[in-house]
């Protein structure tokens, strides 16, 4: 009926579908195998009394099969849940497999050890943060690169930067750049200002939406001023930034290396730029402003 030797003979020497032959040896793919090697003592088919440990969802179960149930494959394997605690699990194994061959029990305990170890590792790994690789369809990549090229061409970056720098120069942001001829530059600047003034008033109305360009740049300038004013702020406990502009006029002598606050136009109106505001507010200057030192470059 159930003769293990006959079974083993047939399986081993003819064909076992669970056997996997690799370079290093023969392995058994049967899920109920304790060691995983194709052996006379480890084959679950060729041993009528057998036990394993299997893992389901992180919980270990002890499976046992006895010869009494050999004719009922459906109810062949008896299952016992093992606690997560390693020592307790060992005790339960000992209890259930008390009179079983020692070799098998030993193999089962080894298997339990290994499984506990890898369970700990799995938990640790899942807690660790790992980079997730996201793929981008190639079509998108190509599309983006095409768009980038077109945007680059539309941007005309160098021209824009040069224009921007010239504007800043005209506004007088740079106090002391020393690589050009003074006279000519001053003449040019005056000339440029005259030309631009007429256009400026018309542009004002449009300035609103384009302002994104200027706005941050104005902040830059203001920040440059604020750096100088920084000392003032601390010395004089001024919190209001706008107020400082006026105070500065009165105390030009306190300034260090910086000559003055250049942002003033010649036409008598002052563009006060408020921190963060995009509005270009024109504020009438005081009489004092006239006495201010003009930027000597």
């Amino acid at each position: 009926m159930q003769n293990d030797d006959v079974i083993w003979d047939v399986i081993r020497h003819h064909h076992c579908s669970y056997m996997a032959k690799i370079q290093t040896g023969n392995f058994c793919r049967n899920p109920y195998n304790v060691t995983g090697i194709c052996n006379r003592s480890s084959c679950p088919l060729a041993n009528s009394r057998y036990a394993t440990i299997r893992d389901h969802d992180g919980i270990f179960y002890l499976y046992m099969k006895t010869i009494e149930r050999a004719h009922m494959p459906n109810k062949l394997w008896e299952r016992v849940k093992l606690p997560k605690n390693y020592m307790k699990a060992l005790e339960i194994i000992d209890k259930h497999l008390e009179y079983w061959p020692k070799l098998l029990v030993h193999k089962i305990k080894q298997r339990l050890t290994k499984m506990t170890q890898y369970r700990i590792r799995m938990v640790k790994l899942s807690k660790k943060v790992r980079e997730k690789i996201m793929t981008v369809p190639r079509k998108e990549v190509k599309r983006e690169s095409r768009r980038e090229e077109k945007a680059l061409r539309a941007a005309q970056i160098e021209n824009v930067i040069e224009k921007e720098l010239l504007e800043r120069l005209n506004k007088g942001v740079y106090p002391d750049i020393c690589n050009y001829d003074e006279e000519i530059f001053n003449k040019l600047l005056d000339k440029n200002k005259e030309e631009e003034q007429e256009e400026e008033e018309e542009e004002e109305a449009e300035v609103e939406y384009v302002e994104g360009d200027y706005e941050l740049e104005e902040e830059e300038e203001l920040e440059e001023d604020i750096e100088d004013m920084g000392d003032f702020l601390k010395a004089n406990n001024f919190e209001d930034i706008e107020g400082d502009e006026d105070d500065l006029e009165e105390q030009p002598a306190k300034k260090k290396a910086y000559v003055s606050y250049p942002l003033k136009q010649d036409d008598g109106t002052e563009k006060v730029r408020r921190k963060g505001k995009k509005v270009v507010v024109e504020v009438e200057r005081d009489e004092d402003m006239g006495n201010r030192q003009h930027n000597v470059m």
């Binding site: 539309a154 824009v160 720098l165 120069l169 740079y174 706005e215 604020i226 505001k277 995009k278």
Partner: protein
């Protein structure tokens, strides 16, 4: 082709009159054949070449006519006819409510209360921590070296296997104001993560088209003066926020003597980064004879002020992928904006521009 067939058929016909009549009728009812429908390659290319030639000739005629008209108008002293401006995405854009307006009180209040105001108001000096992803190779280190020279007060720390959140904490303890993480993919720097501290937003950019300094012809070598910043075209609310974030990387006190300018130019949602050294020059230019106004100064040399740029430092483009509120936390963080691919790309829905 069909015409020819019919002509042949007409010739072969016995009764001349009938067929000639039909011949006259047929061409009128006949449909126009596209060059692409002709199966014979030689014939097709010949027809197409002819078509193109005709088009070109027409175009040239138009241009000539236009030029002649404008010249005439100028001579007569009238207004020249309106110049035609080509349609671009930039000038056909409809601005929607996300665009920043100059009179927006909410914006300024928001600016005062946002994460960068401390740095931008110069209460704290920016201090930047640069690091990489876990595996850094090839162009990564070179790029980082250049970044270090561009951004003043930046330090590079090797990544090791630290979790990004831990790095954020570490940086907070050491009082950094922002973190830049350069991510490498396939041996090329691929993405840039900009994390503001202490609880600033996290911006994830995709990096492309990186050109290192050594690959640029006639490159200059940057000094260590604080650079000037130029931020162009950040018009929408989101763009404004991103612009401020970028601004907070750099010290707010540029040293103009150094004549260094760092530009972030936004065009159609692509942010182009450039790093130049500039010089102002006086250029002598002979006034053109075209301009009517300059008749008086004809023959004299006009002097114009120009800025000349020498490129130094790397060149790359960024595209915003996502902006997350708070420091780096992909699972639990709240995303302010995420790039979603829509089936129809509508240019009016530019997000940063």
């Amino acid at each position: 082709m069909a015409k020819e067939k019919k002509r042949k058929a007409a010739e072969e016909a016995v009764d001349g009159d009938d067929y000639i009549e039909r011949e006259d009728e047929k061409p009128k009812k006949q449909k126009l054949i596209l060059a692409s429908q002709i199966k014979n390659k030689e014939k097709r290319s010949a027809v197409y070449a002819k078509l193109k030639h005709e088009k070109r000739v027409e175009k040239r005629k138009k241009i000539k006519a236009r030029d002649a008209a404008s010249k005439q108008a100028l001579e007569l002293g009238e207004e020249p006819p309106e110049k035609m401006v080509p349609r671009t995405i930039e000038n056909t854009r409809e601005l929607d409510e996300t665009v920043c307006r100059p009179d927006d009180e909410e914006l300024f209040a928001g600016n005062d209360a946002d994460e960068f105001s401390a740095v931008l108001k110069q209460q704290t000096a920016p201090k930047v921590l640069i690091t990489t992803c876990r595996f850094n190779s090839s162009r990564g280190p070179a790029f980082i070296k250049e970044l270090l020279s561009v951004i003043p007060n930046a330090q590079y720390y090797k990544r090791g296997t630290y979790e990004l959140k831990k790095i954020v904490e570490y940086a907070k303890n050491k009082e950094f104001t922002s973190i830049i993480v350069v991510h490498t993919n396939r041996r090329e720097p691929d993405a840039l993560l900009l994390i503001g501290l202490p609880d600033g937003p996290t911006a994830h950019f995709r990096l492309s088209n990186l050109v290192l300094r050594k690959d640029i012809k006639n490159h200059g070598n940057p000094t260590s003066h604080e650079p000037e910043l130029v931020l162009n075209n950040f018009t929408t609310r989101l763009g404004h926020r991103v612009g401020r974030m970028i601004q907070s990387l750099f010290p707010q006190v540029p040293n103009f003597r150094g004549r260094r300018v760092v530009t972030f130019h936004n065009q159609r949602d692509f942010i182009f980064f450039r790093h130049h050294r500039y010089v102002f020059e006086v250029k002598e230019k002979k006034e053109g004879l075209k301009d009517k106004k300059s008749k008086a100064s004809q023959g004299k040399t006009e002097k114009k002020a120009i800025a000349r740029l020498q490129e130094c430092g790397p060149r790359f483009t960024l595209k915003l992928v996502s902006l997350q509120h708070g420091t780096f936390d992909t699972k639990g963080g709240e995303f302010e904006w995420v790039h979603k691919v829509t089936l129809s790309h509508v240019y009016s829905h530019l997000t940063l521009d």
